[in-house]
């Protein structure tokens, strides 16, 4: 809820003293409302108004950053309960749990796995970004050895430090402070040690308590001690509790403006699931239901990839259509005699068409024209996928140099532009394809035969 400049002005001294650097209180109020100046610039501003403005100018869910540089994980700053209301902004971090009781070989394998399992989809890089290092042995030296190993072998991964003993956390933090790790858990038992021991207030800390009610006083204490990089763990015992807790935390921040719960969360499918597949589905639920960090014990290619795709789907901005890059895609290793299909760069169109083309096993080219993410009919009706724009795309695409024929298959939904397109591309023969992608394999097989016949 934005605050209006005129509302602020009413509560300023109104003396136009110019000490803030502006000629009038009104001018100052306007700058405050847009966040260009801080309330502190006015020496006479009332404390209550100062707090009110500061609150209104900070997002209801605080941004927390774990790690540094380009690989840093940003979580928080969410503004809605449902993605269609606007969008979800910062996808949750996925963390792989490693404990100091695992063997050296196991630890190395996990670190390698995290770094190896990276995927590309719709032009996006997908990966799990965090390693969660757990002190389980009870020996500080072992925990530190684990942290050191991770520091040397995983140069970019973000780090979550997990230890019941606060001195383990502190010692581990000392050696990896420049990686900006998250320290977990800060509880009622160690909160005083944390406040006394953590000199750097910008350190990200994970606060844990039994339920939201117990969490609130701990957050209050930490905030008054100057900590702002806080991540919440209400210790949900199962998925249904987690849905409740995650929902109530976000609601409190967004709907009730309850700042003490205006932080992202951390969740632990690793401790709730017995089997690997079970863990995947718990993590999947938490991706949809507001988690900020999700810690898992297992990562395999076949489990991480679907989770990362789900995360991308849920966090896709519904206000903007998903697109793929404009280019000529080669499917099933085509040669110069391969058929050519043209369609738009709406990601779902691309997926539907390319997967049917792959399934047909016919080597072929897929020309994807940039229609700003509009599907075939919408792009046609707005002129983005009409004879002239298609012709200019076909010419710049370079497809003509890759093939020894001039046959172009266009989507069945734009059959009506065939004639016009043939005028624009006089060397080409335009073939009207199917309306639905499911008809593509049969179409491609026919085309291949025709091209082979005419070629021989």
């Amino acid at each position: 809820m934005p605050i209006k400049g005129t509302d602020i002005q009413k509560r300023l001294p109104g003396t136009n003293c110019k000490e803030c650097g502006l000629p009038t209180c009104f001018g100052f109020a306007m700058k405050l409302a847009t966040g260009k100046l801080k309330p502190d610039a006015c020496p006479y501003i009332a404390q209550s108004l100062r707090e009110e403005i500061e609150n209104l100018l900070t997002p209801p869910v605080k941004l927390v950053v774990i790690g540094t540089g380009e690989q840093a994980l940003n979580i928080g700053e969410e503004e809605v309960m449902f993605r269609h209301e606007k969008t979800f902004f910062h996808p949750p971090g996925l963390a792989l749990l490693i404990s100091d009781t695992e063997t050296d070989a196991e630890i190395t394998a996990k670190i390698d796995k995290l770094q190896e399992l990276q995927f590309k989809r719709v032009g996006m890089e997908l990966r799990a970004e965090l390693l969660a290092l757990q002190s389980l042995s009870g020996e500080k030296a072992k925990f530190i050895a684990l942290v050191e190993k991770v520091l040397s072998q995983a140069a970019t991964a973000g780090i979550v430090l997990i230890a019941k003993q606060f001195d383990h956390l502190l010692a581990a933090q000392e050696i990896c402070n420049d990686r900006k790790p998250l320290l977990y858990p800060i509880t009622a038992a160690n909160i005083d040690d944390a406040i006394a021991g953590l000199n750097e207030r910008a350190t990200p800390i994970g606060v844990q308590a039994e339920g939201i009610e117990e969490l609130v006083p701990l957050v209050e204490k930490l905030r008054s001690a100057g900590f702002e990089q806080i991540v919440l763990d209400p210790s949900s015992k199962n998925l249904i509790e987690a849905i409740r807790d995650q929902t109530l935390i976000r609601r409190a921040a967004l709907k009730k403006d309850f700042r003490l719960l205006g932080f992202p969360t951390i969740t632990f499918p690793c401790f709730l699931a017995k089997e690997a597949q079970e863990e995947v589905l718990l993590a999947a639920s938490l991706i949809a239901k507001y988690a900020g960090i999700i810690v898992v014990r297992n990562i395999k290619r076949h489990s991480l990839f679907p989770l990362l795709v789900e995360r991308m789907n849920i966090y896709t901005d519904p206000r903007r259509p998903m697109t793929v890059e404009e280019k000529v895609y080669e499917i099933n290793s085509p040669d110069a005699a391969a058929p050519v299909i043209l369609t738009t760069n709406f990601a779902l169109t691309y997926f539907a068409v390319s997967s049917e083309m792959e399934a047909s096993k016919v080597p072929s080219f897929l020309c994807i024209q940039n229609t700003e993410g509009l599907c075939v009919l919408a792009a046609w009706s707005t002129g983005k996928f009409a004879a002239d724009t298609i012709a200019s795309y076909i010419k710049r695409s370079g497809i003509a140099d890759k093939i020894n024929h001039r046959n172009l298959i266009i989507p069945g939904y734009v059959a009506q532009i065939k004639g016009e397109l043939e005028e624009e591309l006089p060397d080409w023969q335009i073939i009207v394809g199917t309306r639905e992608a499911s008809g593509i394999p049969a179409l491609l097989k026919r085309q291949k035969q025709l091209l082979e016949l005419s070629g021989s």
Binding site: F82, L248, L281, L282, P306, N313, L348
Partner: protein, 304 residues
């Protein structure tokens, strides 16, 4: 600052739809709150999973570890019995999409399964409007009183299907393509044809993970919010998600069955979280896994 949980009470309630014959009927819907929000409302019926059986050819679900579903009986009725015995499934979904047999033959095979088992059955037609408007009424008439859930009824063929459901007391799947307003419109038209609100299930059209899943997800959330928050009577029917075929035609599922099971399982769970009251699955492995999540992690202990 004193913390007060922000509890929402909703003015609307989802219709409860009863599927299947007398003794073995299954109820879906009936909740007055969002999915799993038992902290602020009542959800009398947990989400249900149905396992699909293709009316023509069965898939082979062999997988190294997770049990044996190879060499499945090719006869749909035998497979239905096997699924009931080995997995304890509560609902069967007969799938007709892509079946290259005559409509009479389809109806004959469906009726054989319906007569052979006594759990609720979903008849998910070919999806081709002209075929379904003949096939579905034929099955509805022969199996009067079985409480079948039939569909998809679309705006092109809803009249014929609705008339059969009214005449023979069956339930209907109302399908519209990812459009909240169109879903409401079709419900209004079905009600005009004489169906009761508790005879309709909304099918907003499901896409698979990675292939537009988020569109379905948000349409389901919007339908549920319209039903509960705005008390829109024409949106208060339970929601069905038919995801098996969509998931298993993706290359990610085809190239690795374990990944396919998770692909289908994640899609199912996302839709359940968005508001689906019943999900049709293809793989028995996915069924086992998703059912385990529902009963172990998503059952409210205090409520039972």
């Amino acid at each position: 600052m004193v913390y007060q949980p922000a509890i929402d009470i909703y003015s609307g309630k989802i219709e409860e739809v009863i599927l299947g014959p007398g003794g073995n009927s299954v109820r879906i819907g009936g909740e007055d709150t969002l999915p799993f929000h038992s902290f602020e409302g009542v959800l009398p019926n947990p989400p249900k999973l149905a396992l699909e059986i293709c009316i023509t050819k069965q898939a082979d679900w062999t997988e190294e570890k997770a049990g044996d579903f190879s060499n499945l009986p090719s006869e749909p009725a035998d497979l239905a019995k096997k699924y009931i015995e080995e997995l304890g499934i509560e609902i069967i979904a007969l799938q007709f999409a892509g079946a290259a047999i005559s409509i009479d033959e389809m109806a004959k095979r469906a009726i054989k399964v319906i007569k052979a088992v006594d759990i609720p059955i979903i008849i998910y037609g070919t999806g081709v409007s002209e075929q379904d408007q003949i096939l579905l009424p034929q099955i509805a008439a022969t199996c009067a009183g079985k409480g079948l859930l039939l569909g998809p009824a679309k705006k092109e063929n809803y009249r014929e299907i609705a008339a059969a459901c009214v005449a023979y007391d069956q339930r209907v799947i109302a399908q519209t393509p990812l459009d909240v307003n169109a879903a409401k419109q079709l419900n209004i038209m079905l009600i005009k044809e004489g169906l009761a609100a508790d005879q309709i299930v909304i099918d907003p059209l499901s896409s698979a993970l990675g292939y537009g899943m988020e569109y379905t997800y948000s349409v389901m959330e919007r339908i549920k919010l319209a039903a509960l928050v705005h008390n829109d009577k024409m949106m208060q029917m339970p929601i069905i998600a038919n995801i098996g075929a969509e998931c298993w035609k993706t290359k990610e599922a085809k190239e690795d069955i374990t990944q396919g099971v998770l692909w289908e399982g994640i899609t199912a769970l996302c839709f359940i979280l968005a508001g689906a009251n019943i999900v049709l699955l293809k793989s028995p492995h996915t069924y086992k896994l998703t059912q385990q999540i529902l009963s172990k992690h998503l059952t409210d202990v205090e409520a039972n």
